[in-house]
């Protein structure tokens, strides 16, 4: 029978092969689920994973969805490496969007050269500020950041609902829960004139590159990694855990806020009650799938962006609910966590034990 034998050291090969194995397993399992639901499995899986890429504008749509996921995934990689479990990026995304969106609405006549950089700053400050509440509650009061960051994500959603149904509601919007459209200057430069490709799409891989350098080449990156892997060693080395927690929360929250800012200014052009299709939670999968490495987060972000497009494609072409996006994402994370066992273990085949007397 099969048995798992511990390896003497983590396998670098499997650390990167595991996501591929997980993706293959996910395709198989979701195919089986579709077959069970009475759907043609191969067609459904290809509609989900391949057809969006072939559609006109598919790659553009992919880039637009991937940018926020990559930004947030990068931030989470740094935080999770340091054992700082920020799972409320959804809330920080929303606060970044609110901060930037409110600024854009308050300054409708500002020139783009002033307004757009200001919106970027507001997005980052909004997200980071919200995340720092969590850091403060953890370092000052010892409150578990998983629960507080998640609760704050719910609160952020209600704050958004309050704003777009109350003070910020578009007076000419027929009562819809949304703000007026931002001025053109707020959407920033376009990579290709007339497309949806906003500046965040170039910024996302740049952010990943900078984070990769920070994590691998700087003292801060080293300290974050030590804090995660050997907290006692970090203490003996004199690293301030509190300062690192604040830093990790500020980076992951700031990047989530940046993602939220680009989503509302660059893609949606207004605030509404549903500015995020769960990007904050999907970004957690992006982080893990990307091996908590900024370099890995880029392909992982593209793949998970594809699951959103795939859900839409399955809804339009096959009449399935786009909830299969969530199922696919969940299965992918399950398979990844399962196949990660091969990083630290070898799968060996042994004849069923004929225990020899020693």
């Amino acid at each position: 029978m099969f048995s798992l034998q511990p390896r003497s050291a983590a396998s670098p090969l499997w650390s990167w092969a595991s996501p591929l194995l997980a993706l293959a397993l996910t395709a198989l399992i979701s195919g089986a689920i579709f077959a069970f639901m009475g759907r043609p499995p191969v067609l459904t899986v290809t509609t989900f994973l391949i057809s969006p890429l072939l559609a006109t504008g598919g790659l553009e749509a992919l880039a637009v969805k991937a940018a926020p996921l990559i930004m947030m995934g990068v931030g989470l990689s740094l935080a999770y490496r340091a054992n700082v479990w920020n799972i409320g990026t959804e809330g920080q995304f929303i606060l970044g969007a609110i901060a930037a969106g409110t600024t854009a609405l308050l300054l409708p006549d500002a020139p783009g050269t002033v307004l757009f950089p200001l919106l970027i700053v507001m997005g980052v400050v909004g997200g980071a500020g919200y995340a720092l509440i969590v850091a403060w509650l953890r370092t000052r009061f010892n409150a578990n950041e998983i629960l507080t960051s998640l609760m704050l994500a719910y609160i952020a959603q209600y704050l958004l609902v309050f704003l777009v149904t109350g003070p910020l509601r578009d007076p000419d919007g027929f009562g819809f829960p949304q703000t007026a459209l931002f001025a053109d200057a707020a959407s920033g430069p376009r990579l290709i004139e007339g497309s949806n490709l906003h500046l965040g799409i170039v910024l996302a891989p740049l952010v990943a590159l900078v984070a990769w350098i920070v994590l691998g080449r700087t003292t801060l990156g080293f300290q974050l990694r030590v804090l995660g892997q050997a907290p006692r060693a970090a203490k003996f080395a004199g690293f301030s855990e509190d300062r690192l927690v604040w830093t990790a929360m500020a980076i992951s929250g700031g990047l989530a806020g940046l993602a939220g800012m680009f989503e509302v200014t660059g893609t949606q052009g207004q605030l509404s009650t549903n500015i995020s299709p769960g990007y904050g939670f999907t970004a957690i999968i992006v982080g893990f799938l990307g091996r908590l490495s900024p370099a890995g987060v880029v392909p992982a972000g593209l793949l998970l962006a594809l699951t959103y497009l795939g859900g839409d494609a399955a809804q339009i072409n096959l009449g399935l609910s786009n909830a299969i996006t969530g199922i696919f994402q969940g299965i992918l994370l399950f398979c990844l966590l399962g196949s990660d066992v091969l990083i630290l273990h070898k799968l060996t085949w042994r004849r069923r034990a004929k225990v020899a007397a020693t």
Binding site: P6, W85, I87, L137, R140, F141, N142, A143, N144, I146, L147, T148, L150, M151, L152, Y154, I155, Y158, L159, V161, F162, T165, G166, F281, T282, I284, I285, F288, L320, S321, A323, I324, T325, G326, I327, F328, Q329, G330, I331, L333, F334, L337, G338, D340, V341, L344, H345
Partner: protein, 307 residues
């Protein structure tokens, strides 16, 4: 005035029940030192499984079984990944929630806005008709009583039985328990499955009794509140009950005040239970010594038998 007070008490009992069911399950899981963050996902699975089976078969009892089964199925997946394959518990718990959300939304798409049989309310002739005591004590659906009974049984199990002692030993010192010959992994499997069953039941309580209908994401963070409750109670069953009433009261009052038409934006009131959860967590957690004293020492740490 009296009527309002009675109504309030009864409503708080109802709001507290799903929290209490889920938190009792998670308490046992965490006592075995496993941290399953997937309560929200398991509750959603239980809610849709219960609702769908109740609608299709007309039997609420089959529905409860289905909800328990759904919660256990998801928790089994968690157990295999974290206990057998040694996957990260935080990540796996989140995966449970993400998957549970998606799966319940997909299955539930056909059940939005339709009715299913509700759990019957207790009616004891004489007792239920008593003034005050009747509505406050003898008028609930069976899960309200089941939640209290199960909590009492769990408290007794943990404090007074040999098996409970072993469970706690595994939570506090799994290596020593292993050396003494106890099956650490097997016992943790059982604890996790119990947690899944309770979360599934809590979900069914939401979709068959508390708000008897199915709506996407209807658990609305209660799974996470249940997790916070376990910390609030510092892993002690009696305090779990106090906490469930407290949190139930917060959840109910935010609805109640909205109904009064006070000039406060509805979104603020809706956010209050979550804000309250943060405040309570902060108040509890700041006492590091007390947390350290009660927290299962091995919580969240993987166990691997060597040799």
């Amino acid at each position: 005035m009296m009527d309002i007070a009675i109504n309030l008490l009864a409503s708080i009992m109802l709001a507290a029940t799903p929290l209490l069911l889920a938190a009792t399950g998670e308490l046992v899981v965490e006592k075995a030192a496993v941290l399953n963050l997937g309560v929200e996902g398991m509750m959603l699975m239980g809610a849709i499984a219960g609702f769908a089976v109740a609608h299709e078969t007309g039997s609420v009892w089959l529905a409860l079984l289905a909800a328990i089964g759904a919660g256990m199925a998801l928790s089994l997946l968690f157990a295999v990944l974290t206990l057998t394959l040694q996957a990260n518990q935080t990540a796996t718990g989140l995966a449970l929630t993400i998957f549970g959300r998606g799966f319940s939304a997909l299955v539930g798409a056909g059940y939005v806005g339709i009715a299913a049989p509700e759990l019957p309310k207790l009616h004891l002739p004489g007792l239920t008709d008593l003034p005050v005591l009747g509505p406050v004590l003898f008028s609930y659906d069976p899960l309200v009583y089941a939640a209290l009974l199960i909590l009492a049984l769990v408290a007794w199990f943990l404090a007074k039985t040999h098996a409970g002692l072993i469970l706690r030993a595994i939570g506090d010192q799994h290596d020593a328990a292993h050396v003494l010959g106890y099956k650490v992994i097997r016992i943790r499997y059982l604890a996790v499955l119990f947690g899944g069953a309770m979360a599934g039941l809590a979900g069914a309580d939401m979709s068959l009794a508390y708000t008897p209908l199915w709506a996407q994401d209807m658990i609305a963070g209660r799974g996470w509140v249940a997790l916070a409750l376990v910390t609030f109670a510092a892993w002690r069953p009696f305090w779990l009950l106090i906490g469930a009433w407290l949190f139930g009261a917060m959840m109910y009052l935010s609805l109640y005040v909205q109904g009064l038409g006070v000039p406060v934006p509805q979104a603020f009131l809706s956010a209050l239970p979550y804000l309250g959860t943060v405040v309570v967590l902060v108040l509890i957690s700041r006492d590091r010594r007390r947390i350290r004293l009660h927290r299962p020492a091995m919580l969240g740490r993987p166990f691997q038998a060597n040799g």
